[in-house]
C-alpha cells in the first residue's frame, strides 16, 4: 500500500469532501461580497442557500456515474 501512496495520491472522487469544499468556498465568496460592499445584508436571504444548492448539485453530478455503474 505504501507503494501506491507514494506513487500517486489521485483517487476516485470523494463526494463528501467535494460537496463540503464547494459549500465552504461558496460561503467564503458570500463573505467577500458582503465585506466588499458588493452585496448587502438583505441579500443574504437569497445568497445563503446558493452554496448549498451548488454543493448539492456538484455532489449529485459527481455521484451520478457511480450510481449508473453500480446498477450494471
Amino acid at each position: 500500500m505504501n507503494e501506491q501512496t507514494t506513487e500517486s495520491g489521485r483517487h476516485p472522487v470523494n463526494i463528501g469532501h467535494l460537496v463540503m469544499g464547494v459549500a465552504f468556498l461558496g460561503l467564503a465568496v458570500i463573505w467577500a461580497l458582503i465585506e466588499s460592499g458588493a452585496a448587502s445584508a438583505s441579500d443574504l436571504r437569497w445568497m445563503l442557500p446558493v452554496p448549498w444548492v451548488a454543493a448539492g448539485a456538484v455532489g449529485l453530478v459527481a455521484t451520478a456515474p457511480r450510481l449508473r455503474g453500480s446498477r450494471d
Binding site: 501506491q4 476516485p12 465585506e35
Partner: protein, 390 residues
C-alpha cells in the same frame, strides 16, 4: 455487527466487502454498541463505536456530533451520554453500570431528550448555547490533535485486533476467530495518498500570519477576514482532497471557521450601526422602538413634560446588539428587561449577565413621581438603563 453481544449467535464469517453487513435488527440492538479503544479512538470512542454500529465512516458521525452541537448543544449531550452509558469494546459494563435492557432504555431516553432539544432550538433562537459551542470546539480541537488511525490496519472489529484479548464470555462464543484476522480489510480507494490535514493546518497558520502582518502594517483588514480565510482554505483543501490525497478532518475545521466567520461578520457589519431616538416631549415618545441589529439609543431624558409619561409603557426591542435606554430623572421606572440569548443587563446600577437573563426592577424617584414602564427585549447583546438629567 462487529460487537455482537455474547448472548447472541456468532456472526457468519464475512466474505469480501460485498454488501451491507448490518441489518435493521443489528442497528436496533442499542445495547450492542461499544466504544472503540486503542488507536482508532479520538476522544472517548463514541463516534467510532456508533459508526461501527451503523457500518458507516466515523467522520460522518463526528461531523454529525459537531453539527448537532449547534442546535441547543444536542450533539454534546448525546456524546457525553453515550460516553457514560456505552461500554468500551471488550467490556459489558459502562461507566454508568446498567444491564443490557436498562442500557437500551437509557439510550432511547437520551435519544428522545436530544430530539426534544433539537425541536426546541433553532440556529439563532432563544438560549443559543455559546458555552456548549466553545466546549464542542475544544473537543474538536483535541480530537484533531490525536494521531490518525492506521488506514491499513485490520478491520475495525474488536475481535480482529491481534493484540486484543477477548473477554471470557466472548471467548466461549467465538470458538474460531482467526478467520477474521486473516482477512485484511479492502483498502478504500478514496483514502489514498498523503494526509492533507497537517499540511492544510500549516498553510492556514502561514496565511493567518501573513494576514496578521498585513493588518499590523496598517492595511484595513476586517476581523472576520481571519476566520473567512480559514474557511476558504478549508474549501480549497477539501476540493483538492476530493480528487487527490486524504482531506479527513478538514471538514471540522471548515465548520468551526464558518461559525466563527458568521459571528465575526455580524460584528463587522452591524456594530457600527447606531440609531438614536431623543424625543423632546411626551407626545413624541412612541410606544415601541425596535432595531434588528446594532446600537439603539432611546434617550427620554430630554422630555420636557415627564409628568405626562405617567402610566405609559415603552417597549424597546432588538435582535443583536445594544439597547441603551435613558429615562428622565424624577420618574419612577418599572423595568422588565430580558435577553433570551447570551448578554448582560445593567438596570440602574443593578448588573446581571449570562444566558437567558431577566431583570425586573423598580427605580423609585418619589411617591409623587410619575410612573413609566419600560419593557426591553433583546436576543443577544446588552441592555443598559440609566437616569439622565432633563
Amino acid at each position: 455487527m462487529s460487537t455482537t453481544p455474547p448472548d447472541t449467535q456468532p456472526p457468519p464469517t464475512p466474505g469480501p466487502d460485498s454488501g451491507p453487513r448490518v441489518g435493521w435488527d443489528d442497528i436496533r440492538d442499542l445495547a450492542g454498541i461499544r466504544r472503540t479503544v486503542g488507536e482508532r479512538r479520538r476522544v472517548a470512542g463514541v463516534a467510532g463505536g456508533l459508526a461501527r454500529h451503523l457500518d458507516i465512516d466515523p467522520i460522518i458521525v463526528r461531523v454529525a456530533f459537531v453539527v448537532l452541537t449547534f442546535f441547543g448543544g444536542a450533539g454534546l449531550v448525546l456524546y457525553i451520554a453515550c460516553w457514560l452509558l456505552v461500554p468500551e469494546e471488550g467490556s459489558d459494563w459502562a461507566r454508568v453500570a446498567l444491564d443490557r435492557r436498562s442500557r437500551t432504555v437509557a439510550l432511547v431516553l437520551v435519544g428522545s431528550l436530544v430530539l426534544v432539544i433539537l425541536l426546541g432550538h433553532t440556529w439563532w433562537g432563544s438560549g443559543y448555547p455559546w458555552g456548549l459551542l466553545i466546549v464542542a470546539g475544544i473537543v474538536a480541537l483535541i480530537a484533531t490533535t490525536f494521531p490518525r488511525r492506521d488506514r491499513g490496519a485490520p478491520p475495525a472489529e474488536s475481535l480482529t485486533d491481534p493484540g486484543a484479548v477477548p473477554p471470557a464470555s466472548q471467548t466461549q462464543t467465538y470458538a474460531v476467530p482467526p478467520t477474521y484476522v486473516e482477512q485484511p480489510r479492502p483498502v478504500n480507494p478514496r483514502k489514498k495518498g498523503p494526509i492533507l490535514f497537517w499540511f492544510a493546518l500549516a498553510v492556514m497558520a502561514v496565511a493567518l500570519g501573513v494576514l496578521g502582518v498585513v493588518d499590523l502594517a496598517g492595511a484595513s483588514v476586517a476581523p472576520s477576514a481571519y476566520p473567512a480565510l480559514v474557511l476558504a482554505l478549508s474549501g480549497v483543501f477539501l476540493l483538492l482532497g476530493a480528487f487527490w490525497g486524504r482531506a479527513g478532518g478538514i471538514i471540522l475545521v471548515g465548520l468551526l471557521a464558518a461559525a466563527a466567520t458568521v459571528g465575526a461578520t455580524i460584528g463587522d457589519q452591524w456594530d457600527p450601526h447606531r440609531e438614536v431616538v431623543r424625543p423632546v416631549n411626551s407626545a413624541a415618545v412612541q410606544s415601541s422602538y425596535h432595531l434588528d441589529a446594532g446600537n439603539l439609543v432611546v434617550d427620554l431624558s430630554q422630555v420636557t413634560d415627564p409628568q405626562a409619561l405617567d402610566g405609559r409603557t415603552v417597549h424597546v426591542s432588538g435582535g443583536v446588539g445594544h439597547l441603551d435606554i435613558t429615562v428622565p430623572t424624577g420618574v419612577n421606572v418599572v423595568t422588565h428587561a430580558s435577553i433570551s440569548g447570551p448578554g448582560g443587563i445593567n438596570a440602574f446600577g443593578q448588573d446581571s449577565g449570562g444566558v437567558d437573563t431577566t431583570v425586573d426592577t423598580v427605580h423609585r424617584a418619589g411617591p409623587q413621581a410619575p410612573t413609566l414602564t419600560i419593557d426591553a427585549d433583546l436576543h443577544i447583546g446588552a441592555i443598559d438603563l440609566a437616569t439622565g438629567a432633563n
